[in-house]
């Protein structure tokens, strides 16, 4: 009988202690909550930026929640995060229109890449235009010579892929050679490797897996064209909708677009892969804004 009372008392004490520490943490540490995409988070760039930021602001904690692009923006619209880092202009425009996102800045860019089997059955290697390339892949697919793996998950990559298909005027959905993996970039690339198929990927994930010798059958076939441009933007969530942390978010955003922040971005990946994974936006903001606008129509 006594044991039971003691145990219950102990549990209550623990609950109280935990609640108090939580409260203490809450009051003392300033926290910025940022939602972002899994692919961007997985590169490690964001934690690196946060690390640098903390050197100047040691008592600010940045929490990253990595989900899909769609989900990241949904979280913003629900007021559950203070900032968003995404790369899906058409979705971003929608949320800007709804006044969920304010004060956005383009922070970096890189290019999606079309990768495919070494022997390139659709013969796209010499092309520079991804739209043309997709057309050829479609044809090769219909003739049974090629497969295409789509992420099918509403991620930034998937949205871009769909946009390119739209520009070709062709719709591969439901066709035998068009496979929707419904999963992340790594798994999608590995599936493409297995099936010796074509796919659209971000440069970071591709380089990483290629470096680890896990994509023996795949090669980078097309990159660098503006239709493949991947523009990363950071937004602050509208503080008037929900009680989000505008001031702290602004501090972090300012850091990311500062010289120091842009330097971190520009150098990121050089050590590991021999080439940077991102190009800093600094100096090219106007150009990028134009492309960004174009991309919202994709």
């Amino acid at each position: 009988m006594k044991m039971k009372v003691v145990v219950i008392a102990l549990l209550i004490v623990i609950v109280i202690v935990v609640t108090i520490t939580q409260l203490y943490e809450f009051l003392n540490n300033k926290t910025i909550r940022v939602s972002t995409t899994t692919s961007l988070y997985a590169t490690g760039l964001l934690e690196r930026l946060a690390e640098e930021f903390r050197k100047q602001h040691p008592n600010i904690v940045i929490q990253f929640i990595a989900v899909g692009s769609g989900a990241a923006l949904e979280l913003a619209s629900k007021g559950d995060v203070d900032m968003v880092f995404v790369h899906a202009p058409s979705l971003e425009q929608k949320f800007i229109n709804e006044e969920v996102l304010v004060e956005g800045h383009i922070i970096a860019y890189n290019y999606f890449v079309i990768v495919g089997p070494k022997d390139d059955p659709a013969k796209i290697r010499d092309l520079s235009n991804p739209i043309e390339a997709f057309k050829r892949i479609y044809q090769a697919g219909e003739e049974g010579r090629a497969f295409f793996i789509s992420r099918g998950d509403n991620s930034g990559t998937h949205i871009r892929e769909l946009a390119i298909w739209r520009k070709t005027g062709l719709n591969p959905k439901g066709l035998e050679w068009y496979i929707e993996s419904g999963t992340g970039m790594s798994k999608t690339l590995l599936i493409a490797n297995e099936k010796e198929a074509y796919t659209l990927s971000d440069i970071g994930t591709f380089l990483k897996l290629k470096n680890e010798d896990r994509l023996g059958e795949l090669e980078l076939l097309i990159s660098g064209s503006k239709e493949l441009m991947n523009i990363y933007s950071a937004y602050i969530v509208n503080p008037r909708k929900y009680n989000t942390n505008y001031d702290l978010a602004k501090l972090f955003l300012e850091f990311v677009i500062s010289d120091k922040g842009q330097e971190v971005i520009g150098k990121y990946g050089k050590e590991e892969f021999g080439q940077s994974l991102f190009y800093p936006a600094k100096g090219k903001e106007d150009e990028l804004k134009v492309y960004w606008k174009k991309l919202t129509e994709y």
């Binding site: 939580q22 790594s186 929900y242």
Partner: protein, 213 residues
């Protein structure tokens, strides 16, 4: 990397044990109540619990997210993306499982031990205590199963915890992230760790039970 693994493991243990303890506080009374019900009502309720148990964890996570989101009814509690949210979420998640396991234990216990206690002059409170004491072993087994489900689930921890590094990242969400990143070996190692952790807990409880058998 290794301190992160250590921290993640501790966090998984802490969160899921609290979740199990929390779930027990309401699951035991619910199970007792169900055990005392008439059989037709009881069957209906049990069927409901069985169905709830089959819900995918992501769905449960989503429902809880809607509750705890700032735009949701309980948003002002500020629980979203905290370890406490995961504790509550997992507790809710494993409740149907616990109830399904425990009510049968209580049906038997209530018929045998309640009568026994009363027949020897116990108060209602003493009768309940006796029942709990006698079924403790079986309850412990059920709790372990509940704990296993809590510590091994992904959907709830991910959706309402956010997998935030250093704060709400647990073994399962860390594994999911590594798989996303294509780091399959790391994921397998973490998975193996998860298994070892659960195994150790199950074994130690057996040892403790052995002492009191």
């Amino acid at each position: 990397m290794y301190n992160e693994v250590y921290e993640i493991t501790l966090r998984s243990l802490y969160i899921s044990s609290f979740a199990t303890a929390l779930a027990l506080t309401w699951s035991i009374p619910i199970s007792i109540k169900i055990a005392t019900m008439k059989s037709d009502i009881r069957d209906a309720i049990i069927s409901m619990f069985n169905a709830l148990f089959a819900l995918p964890t992501v769905l449960v996570g989503l429902l809880l997210y809607m509750l705890l989101s700032r735009s949701g009814p309980l948003g002002s509690l500020g629980l979203l993306y905290t370890p406490q949210a995961i504790i509550i979420g997992q507790a809710v998640l494993i409740t149907p499982l616990l109830v399904s396991l425990m009510y049968e234990i209580f049906i038997k216990a209530l018929s045998d031990y309640w009568e026994l206690a009363m027949s020897l002059g116990a108060t209602k409170g003493q009768a309940y205590m006796l029942i709990v004491r006698e079924v403790l072993n079986d309850l412990l087994s059920s709790s372990l199963i509940g704990f296993g489900r809590a510590i091994g689930e992904l959907g709830v921890a991910l959706t309402i915890g956010g997998n935030i590094k250093g704060y709400t990242r647990v073994l399962t969400t860390a594994i999911a992230l590594e798989v996303e990143k294509g780091e399959f070996e790391v994921a397998m190692i973490l998975g193996g760790l998860l298994f070892v952790v659960i195994l150790s807990i199950v074994l130690s409880v057996r040892v403790i039970r052995g002492r009191f058998k």
